[in-house]
């Protein structure tokens, strides 16, 4: 842990702009700037994410669910010392300073987080109507941005909320049915292989989730997992 002083922080600055300011200062002084991941800075790409004062994305400082880039300095008191740490989880090795490697998430998706529909092979869009409630539930789960805050906050370092969001998104749609029960088995297998912990239903994940992925998606995942013991795709 290193403590840096940042001057001239305005309340309207975002948390990452404060880090920019620090890095400009460090560069001029001839010191190494602090590495951190960020990209869109509007809370949608999922690239940024650090633990601030003990909560992922600084959720404990913010009145609303947020990504790190959308947390603003007005949430802190002038002169405060802020604790900043990277996501800490075995499957998210630190690359440098505050930047971590989240490629394990991509590998979970590779294991089945998709619908096999080759380009050009799609039927007319209205061929399969989707009830609005199902569509909305699919949407709520689909808003996941893959930032990894759920893993960072979980005492078990489980990626269950991330995995459950994808499972629920696809399980709610008619297009997702043909691969429903094989998808869950392969995704969970890779989730475990990657070294994420198991879920013990504590709920920290959903609390810090910037997109408020419903906690109950995990139960949806569990239900499908149990069902997959008895059902096979295509039967």
């Amino acid at each position: 842990m290193v403590t840096y002083q940042v001057q001239d922080v305005s309340p309207d600055m975002s948390f990452l702009e404060m880090l920019d300011l620090l890095n400009e200062d460090l560069t001029i002084k001839g010191e190494e700037p602090v590495a951190f991941d960020h990209d869109c800075r509007e809370g949608i790409c999922g690239m940024c994410g650090v633990v601030i004062n003990g909560t992922a994305h600084g959720r404990g400082e913010s009145p609303v669910p947020t990504t790190t880039c959308q947390l603003h300095m007005r949430s802190f008191e002038d002169g405060a010392t802020i604790d900043v740490e990277p996501w800490r989880a075995g499957p998210f090795p630190v690359i440098k300073d505050l930047a971590v490697d989240r490629s394990a998430f991509d590998r979970i998706i590779q294991a089945g987080g998709f619908i096999s529909a080759n380009t050009g092979a799609a039927p007319e869009a209205h061929a399969a109507p989707v009830g609005k409630l199902q569509a909305d539930r699919a949407f709520d789960a689909a808003t996941c941005i893959g930032c990894g805050a759920c893993v960072a906050a979980c005492p078990n370092s489980s990626a269950m909320l991330f995995t459950a969001a994808k499972i629920t998104h696809l399980a709610m749609l008619p297009q997702g049915q043909p691969e429903r029960y094989s998808r869950i088995k392969t995704m969970i297998a890779v989730h475990d292989e990657e070294g994420f912990g198991g879920c013990t239903n504590i709920g920290e994940c959903a609390e810090v989730c910037p997109k408020q992925i419903p906690f109950d998606t995990i139960s949806q995942l569990n239900r499908d997992l149990i069902a997959s013991l008895f059902k096979k795709d295509g039967k």
């Binding site: 001057q7 305005s10 990209d39 800075r41 947020t66 529909a117 949407f139 689909a142």
Partner: protein, 677 residues
Amino acid sequence: MTTTTKPAAPTTAKTASTDFFEVGADIKDAKAPAGAIEQKWSKRKFEAKLVNPSNRRKLTVIIVGTGLAGGAAAASLGEAGYNVLNFCYQDSPRRAHSIAAQGGINAAKNYRNDNDSTFRLFYDTVKGGDYRARETNVYRLAEVSANIIDQCVAQGVPFAREYGGLLDNRSFGGVQVQRTFYARGQTGQQLLIGAYQALERQVAAGTVKMHTRHEMLEIIIVDGRARGIITRDMVTGAIETHFADAVVLATGGYGNVFFLSTNAMGCNVTANWRAHRKGAYFGNPCYTQIHPTCIPVHGETQSKLTLMSESLRNDGRIWVPKNAADCEKDPRQIAEADRDYYLERIYPAFGNLVPRDIASRQAKNMCDEGRGVGPAVKEFDENGNERFVRRGVYLDFAEAIGRLTKEGVASRYGNLFDMYAQITGEDPYETPMRIYPAVHYTMGGLWVDYDLSSNVPGLYVTGEANFSDHGANRLGASALMQGLADGYFVLPNTINDYLAGASALPKVDASHPAAVEALDSVKDRIAKLLAVNGNRTVDSFHKELGNIMWEYCGMYRTEAGLIKAIGLIQKLRESFWKDVKVSGVNEDFNQTLERAGRVVDFMELGELMCVDALHRRESCGGHFRAESQTEDGEALRHDDEYAYVAAWEYTGTAQAPILHKEPLEYEFIELKQRSYK
């Protein structure tokens, strides 16, 4: 903390716009077949040479970028059986900036029975682009738009639906039909995740090899053909060589040349610019779209701008104080009589709903007059003197809340109000919002033909990275459409025409002189950047470049201003190579080095944008030349002189580029002047 030095006055001796470029031979698209416009795409697909499925796996395609255009193309080519090498600078392909698009995606499905058709979408897009787009490409875009929706639904993209289970549509600016499909305010995200999932499926299948945290820094051209790229592994700093039978650039737009834009922080022009330096023509670089309803700059440390949907203008009223003295006051204390609802005053017919470019320009005018609101931000005047200007105008919902109630307003704009409150810390239900225009999209890009091939054989360019479909201005909900059209349906059906002959080309490896030269040039450039060891940060140069571009090549462009900007950029570039401080080493996760390389290319691009803006002495779409306006202050095109695509050929840093014109012929649509009367 930035140490912005005062820009010096330009010393360039060049005074006439024609001093800045040379004119070369005209160019022409040779791929679109003759005949009726409805038949062209089918005919082209039929005529294009094919690659036998068993031969596809012997062919390798490099795709740079994993957004809608790149990710969709990588997935589709992988499915077809080609060997795909896919690169992105982010840590995952899912983070490409396509994800940030809010509004929706157009498609000529005519689900509303409101007389929409492929031809109408084609017509609207050409007209919206102010008649500066190529007809053949735009027609095809409209033609494949319906397939995109089918494809995305099949992938599980959760588009908004009605209670009957069918897809919902909304209307969008500039058109009279409801053809926009949407997924709440996150359409881009959902479409990108669809493409990402298809892509990861191919990664699992082994057809696509994904390289994340890799930045393309050079292209390898062998015997005039694109054969590979040089990348830097952003974690280890390893400079790597990758070879292929064709290279596709799907690297997005270059709005970050303005430093402040709605683009992601990492968006850059390096891949495109490196290809341009190696021979690819840059089409219409000056066409930039500026969006009127963004959250204003809060101060010097601002790093990026956030867009709010334009739909806000349906119910919000835009105003500034009549007297500059009132600008510091609480807006609620300013009497009705002291407010200037300037859009309603100047354009009584359209009021607050004038097109994007007009709304943007008038906001700038009000602030230039000293009647802007919000925090005063440091900038430089024409003589290089520091000044503080308030850059914001009010977007007031008080009247709408009175008419619709607070709940009514919340039901329409609740998420936007929440976003505004989170960023500014102000409650827009209580005090008027402040807005200001921001750079949002770049219509220009590498020049491509009907096949999306650049003038360099084997080099294809898709999505926002190419110049092709939007002319001088892009309609809302058309960017997502173009990215996916290129990625899913166009490129996979045209690149085969080139690849069919590619296996006959001689093999290249790392020992080839062209590869060695490319690799060495990248290493040299990095070594040079690290060796300067000056006293100014990379961001301070980027911000200064942004200020120059925004001031002189932004919403309001003049002959004198553009000439001045070119001089300022040249000075800035000289200063950069003397004074920049790039800390650390190459063999590390070095974000300063990444940014430094990008700024080098942005400075060269900025200069070309100014030259392009200077040479085009007309106003069209997002390009507004003060010298070419109607009496009402509207953009005035000169179709007799400028109905062409400006494709620029690189000749050397700070050397006059060569202009190649591609005349635009309108066979199917009649050219008309835009009017808001």
